[in-house]
């Protein structure tokens, strides 16, 4: 009994920081609709800044002053990020901003490395709260009790701010319809900045307040990211009490997990999330998403079309050049280009569901790494011939996508994204923690291709055939009737269903297909490297593909390829320098700001402007008012009175 109570108390204390950070994320998402990947970085900065301040400010007062000041300092950093990086891209297509926040993560990582060095920092203990208290004979740190006592006050304070003050009312109104809030005379720009300040401050506070328990290190940004997303989703987007309950639930379960099921601590959190979302799709306290009906900006999407003859010739020339690479290129350039092709295939498979299907998956690495592991396990345990393992990899990944897709399909939007992330993390933690079978952190090694492929040039051609073949297959399906149905389901699910398309089934199949293609790229990957590690299943890998798609351009088929190639080559070049993250982060941020339609979208616009390419819509603008004409036509025929007043 004593141990039980002590563990619950530890869990409650651990929940404090988690709740602070998660509530900040939830607030920012609610109002700005930005999935702020950099939130973990704010948390890390709070810890480091708090640590530095605690070195200077002495005593109990100094400790708590440091915590508060660290929070405020991170709040100011949040404001700088919001004004410099996000304001220019608010009008960009939905989710595009998350690429910018990813750039911010990289920049902050290197800045923190520059400022505080690479070593982990041990957090100072809180003056006056150093000892332990015995509760039912079990030792409980005093600081834990302090955290348990403080958190409800913070929760109440936040709740009061949101539920009872004018600022809170404006924040909630903006969560629902920000354009309308603007039309009523509220300057949304400052409201957004204010929310960002508050959210970042909370993250900073969370980082500083956990110092005596956890210290500070350069990995804590990514380490907390998955947990706070889980908390926000379990609690329900935008619900503060929900975030608190979820933070407590996760933390307490985690403490018990460490004691009773030490091999499963990582999996546990995601299992809970998956179960909650399957029972309550919008989280424990969440409400069904209604936002997004208003405030959608930008021109209507331009439909994609099969490539014209010019483009086909261009692509053929490109493939020919790639095929000739072994003739004039070094073996290093072949390996690098093979890596790029594999990555492009992976990104293109994500683009298939994200760009064409409108399903944002945050966990696509599950199928890439999944395919790689299927092949590796077959080779390691069953001595399967490489050719068969290679073919079974996409089957296995496709099967995983089939199951996970079925479980995720009832959700939409960010909840869908989160659930896919949860399952990907589940797979990752399984592989990571089931060491006896998967090799755990040490990975699986010695997975080489058969004799006839086991040198650079033959494997390069092998990659070229399957990589380019996979990409062409994706394109082909995009222009098939199935592709039309998929795009129809994305653009108007109801309309599509009314014409007899089973939208959920179409999306589910597309998800499975994309998973299988990702598995193919994973198989190409594992045999080119000869080994596979859990990192291939990580969130970071999923994000890589997401970033590439957004950078390349979501709305163009070539986006994933252009983005993938640019990022891989840029990485290869930049990683030779010491502060490559900083450089890459800044490049990403600049591309996001300067080319909000992605690299390919922007290139196409440029080409249209200088007249190389034809604007497919240009002949429309000659009809002065197509909407009116079309309507006049309808009225004469049917006299129907549908409301579609522009």
């Amino acid at each position: 009994m004593g141990l039980f109570v002590a563990q619950v108390l530890t869990g409650l204390a651990n929940a404090a920081a988690l709740f602070l950070v998660a509530s900040g994320l939830s607030l920012i998402f609610g109002v700005t609709r930005i999935v702020n990947f950099a939130h973990g970085s704010f948390y890390m900065l709070g810890a480091f800044i708090g640590y530095s301040l605690m070195q200077v400010l002495p005593g109990m007062f100094g400790f708590w002053a440091s915590v508060v000041l660290a929070g405020l300092a991170v709040g100011v950093i949040g404001v700088i990020v919001e004004i410099c990086v996000l304001r220019p891209v608010y009008k960009a297509p939905e989710l595009f901003q998350l690429v910018a926040t990813f750039g911010v993560i990289l920049v902050i990582q290197d800045l923190a490395l520059l400022t505080w060095g690479a070593d982990d920092v041990l957090g100072p203990r809180a003056p006056g709260l150093k000892g332990i208290v015995r509760i039912m004979d079990e030792p409980v740190p005093k600081y834990d009790l302090a955290l348990i006592a403080i958190t409800p006050f913070i929760l109440f304070g936040l709740w009061y701010l949101i539920a009872r003050t004018r600022v809170g009312i404006l924040v909630r109104a903006a969560t629902q319809d920000r354009e309308m809030v603007g039309a009523l005379g509220v300057n949304q720009a400052w409201l957004f900045t204010g929310v960002f300040f508050l959210g970042a401050t909370l993250a900073g506070l969370g980082g500083a307040i956990q110092l005596p328990k956890g210290g500070a290190d350069l990995l804590m940004d990514f380490n907390i990211l998955a947990a706070i997303f889980v908390v926000v989703v379990i609690g329900g987007m935008g619900s503060l009490p929900g975030a608190y309950v979820a933070a407590v639930l996760i933390s307490v379960l985690n403490v018990f997990g460490v004691t009773y099921l030490p091999q499963s601590t990582l999996v546990l959190m995601f299992v809970v999330m998956a179960v909650v979302l399957m029972i309550k799709p919008y989280g424990l306290f969440g409400r069904e998403e209604v936002a997004g009906e208003h405030g959608q900006v930008g021109e209507p999407e331009r439909p994609i079309k099969p490539a014209g003859i010019k483009v086909r010739v261009l692509v053929a020339v490109g493939i020919l050049l790639l095929a000739l690479l072994p003739v004039f290129g070094s073996s290093f350039s072949q390996v690098l280009t093979a890596d790029v092709i594999i990555f492009c295939l992976f990104a293109a498979s994500l683009h298939f569901i994200l760009g064409l299907g409108g399903l944002v998956s945050f966990g696509h690495a599950a199928y890439f790494g999944g395919g790689a592991y299927v092949a590796a396990l077959l080779v390691s345990y069953l001595q399967t011939p490489m050719e068969i393992a290679f073919l079974l990899a996409p089957v296995g990944a496709g099967f995983a996508a089939f199951i996970i897709g079925w479980l995720c399909m009832r959700l939409t939007g960010v909840y869908f994204a989160m659930l896919t992330l949860a399952f990907a993390q589940l797979l990752w933690s399984l592989v990571y923690q089931w060491g006896e079978f998967t090799g755990g952190d040490d990975g699986l090694v010695d997975i080489w291709p058969s004799e006839w492929l086991n040198s650079t040039t033959p494997y390069y051609y092998f990659t070229l055939v399957f990589g380019i073949g996979g990409i062409l297959l994706l394109r082909h399906v995009a222009h098939s009737p199935f592709g039309y149905a998929l795009r129809a389901s994305r653009d108007s699910a109801r309309q599509a269903e009314a014409t007899g398309i089973n939208t959920k089934r179409v999306q589910w199949l597309a998800f499975t297909f994309a998973g299988a293609v990702a598995g193919l790229s994973g198989a190409l990957f594992v045999f080119s490297k000869g080994s596979v590690f859990p990192t291939e299943l990580e969130v970071a890998r999923s994000f890589d593909a997401l970033i590439v798609i957004f950078l390349g351009g979501v709305k163009t088929l070539s986006g994933a390829i252009v983005g993938g190639a640019s990022l891989e080559y840029a990485k290869d070049f930049l990683t030779r320098f010491e502060y490559w993250r900083l450089t890459l982060g800044l490049i990403i941020i600049f591309v996001v700001i300067l080319a909000p339609e992605g690299i390919s979208g922007t290139l196409r616009k440029l080409a249209e402007r200088i007249g190389i390419m034809k604007d497919p819509d240009s002949n429309h603008s000659k009809i002065r008012n197509p909407a009116v004409n079309a309507k006049a036509h309808t009225r004469e025929n049917t006299r129907e009175n549908t409301r579609e007043d522009p």
């Binding site: 004018r166 009312i169 404006l170 909630r172 109104a173 969560t175 629902q176 319809d177 354009e179 309308m180 809030v181 603007g182 039309a183 009523l184 005379g185 509220v186 300057n187 949304q188 720009a189 409400r287 209604v290 208003h294 021109e299 209507p300 819509d617 429309h620 603008s621 002065r624 008012n625 197509p626 909407a627 009116v628 309507k631 006049a632 009225r635 006299r639 009175n641 409301r643 579609e644 007043d645 522009p646």
Partner: protein
Amino acid sequence: MIDVKNVDSYYGKAQILNDLSFSIGEGEVVSILGRNGAGKTTTLKSIMQLVRPRTGSVMFNGTELVGLPPYKVAKVGLGYVPEERRIFTDLTILENMEVGRQPPRDGVPQWSVDLLFELFPNLSERRGNRGKALSGGEQQMLTIARTMMGNPRCLLLDEPSEGIAPVIVEQMVETILRIKKQRLTVVLSEQNLHFARLVADRAIIIEGGEKRFDGTFAELDAQPEIQEKYLSV
């Protein structure tokens, strides 16, 4: 008070308003009439800068509105009541009204929650209810009340009679007439000539994004062919 001059507005590549010009005087109640798709809503949105005119000018008491963000347009004294109501369904009636609240303005009637509840007794009874619990008519009243909380100099009403029960439409006429008594300028878009006639002093008819008629209802009645051509369905 409002001078719209040579305004062209677009949705993407589709032109909706074509060289539209008209003026509204202080204290006038003017109805913009036209069929579905004629460009009524876009006209109001172009004044409010929710749609940014590509060319032309919209002056309001000597201030150029084109290029201002919508919140600044609201600050200079334009109150916008959208057609689709767009109340904040998760907020209570009182909270919805709070969002619209702005400081008092010189030379225009001041509104308060109490005054507005007098004007809309139904809302008063349900002040603690969330927006989503309201009927269509109540929502329509709430959007007007919410905008009035900003003490506007000029009210832009987008199809106030659309989609609400006839009894409520009558109430709406009452309300607009009472607002009119306070010498407030009102621009409302309507498809319903009958409704417009009851509340407005003047009619502007648009079709295909162009102005086809501008005059009093007596003048309009003298030209039945205009009604036939641009308003009958």
